[in-house]
Subunit: 127 residues, 2 copies
DNA sequence: TCAATTGGTTTCCTAAAAGTAACTAGGTAT
DNA sequence: ATACCTAGTTACTTTTAGGAAACCAATTGA
């Protein structure tokens, strides 16, 4: 992981970030945090906008990182269940903290900029 | 912000994520957390690999979100100082927690996969 | 007169992330 | 015989993030 050399101390933060960024990972994780076990198709139904490809790839990355467990039942039609690992549950407090901070920040932003301008959202629009 | 409708409860997490993702934001934030005030050029020197364009855009987003303050001195050659806002300091615990978690996770990954395979790093290499 | 200074902006380009849609296996129900 | 089911994979396209390099303005110092 090349970014480890970037900063004196922030490579580790990137490690944490890498696990939860990816447009779909947070919502996948919250569903798994709330549900104990979910089949592939249940996740698909819970997150209708996600494609199979994305769901698969995000789950595989989470599996690689030992955050979720993948249980394959040898039967037809196939059945695969996903669940948080014991280790993965250690991520929960962080996720919850981030969500709380985000909730407060939304309010803060509305006070600052008003809730009208839904366009720019801080991405410094030009370029 | 379209993602607010994605999940019942994870849009807020995305809000938090949006602020700290971006290849350079964490390191910028850590420098500002440690330094009280830094000029644009000091940040450039502190993070040599970053381009002006990236530094500018990341700082602007942080400024929009009231995390950093931008102070312009009307003089030539220009002088601009960046610092964490009071509000921005509220982000520090989260950043520190994420870094800690990342540090531990690196160890965990090495136990699982060994420290040899530096290639894939969980991005599920095929496609 | 001309280079050096700072804090940018602008245009163009590449690489990575994400989306679309078609295809697959193998057993079951019609 | 054929359509349907699940949990994917594959090939291709679009979108977004990020990078390289040139340009700029106003003043100072040589």
């Amino acid at each position: 992981m090349a970014n480890l050399t970037v900063g004196e101390n922030c490579g580790e933060l990137q490690v944490a970030l890498d696990i939860i960024v990816g447009k779909w990972k947070p919502i996948i994780l919250f569903h798994l945090m709330e549900n104990e076990k979910l089949r592939f198709s249940e996740l698909q139904r819970a997150i209708p906008e996600i494609t199979k490809k994305m769901l698969t790839s995000q789950l595989r990355e989470l599996e690689y990182n030992d955050i979720v467990h993948r249980e394959v039942y040898q039967q037809v039609p196939p059945k695969v269940e996903y669940s948080m690992t014991e280790y993965g549950h250690g991520l929960t407090p962080l996720l919850v903290s981030m969500r709380s901070w985000g909730t407060e920040h939304l309010k803060h932003l509305k006070e600052l900029h008003g809730e009208d301008n839904e366009e720019q959202e801080g991405k410094a629009g030009s370029n």
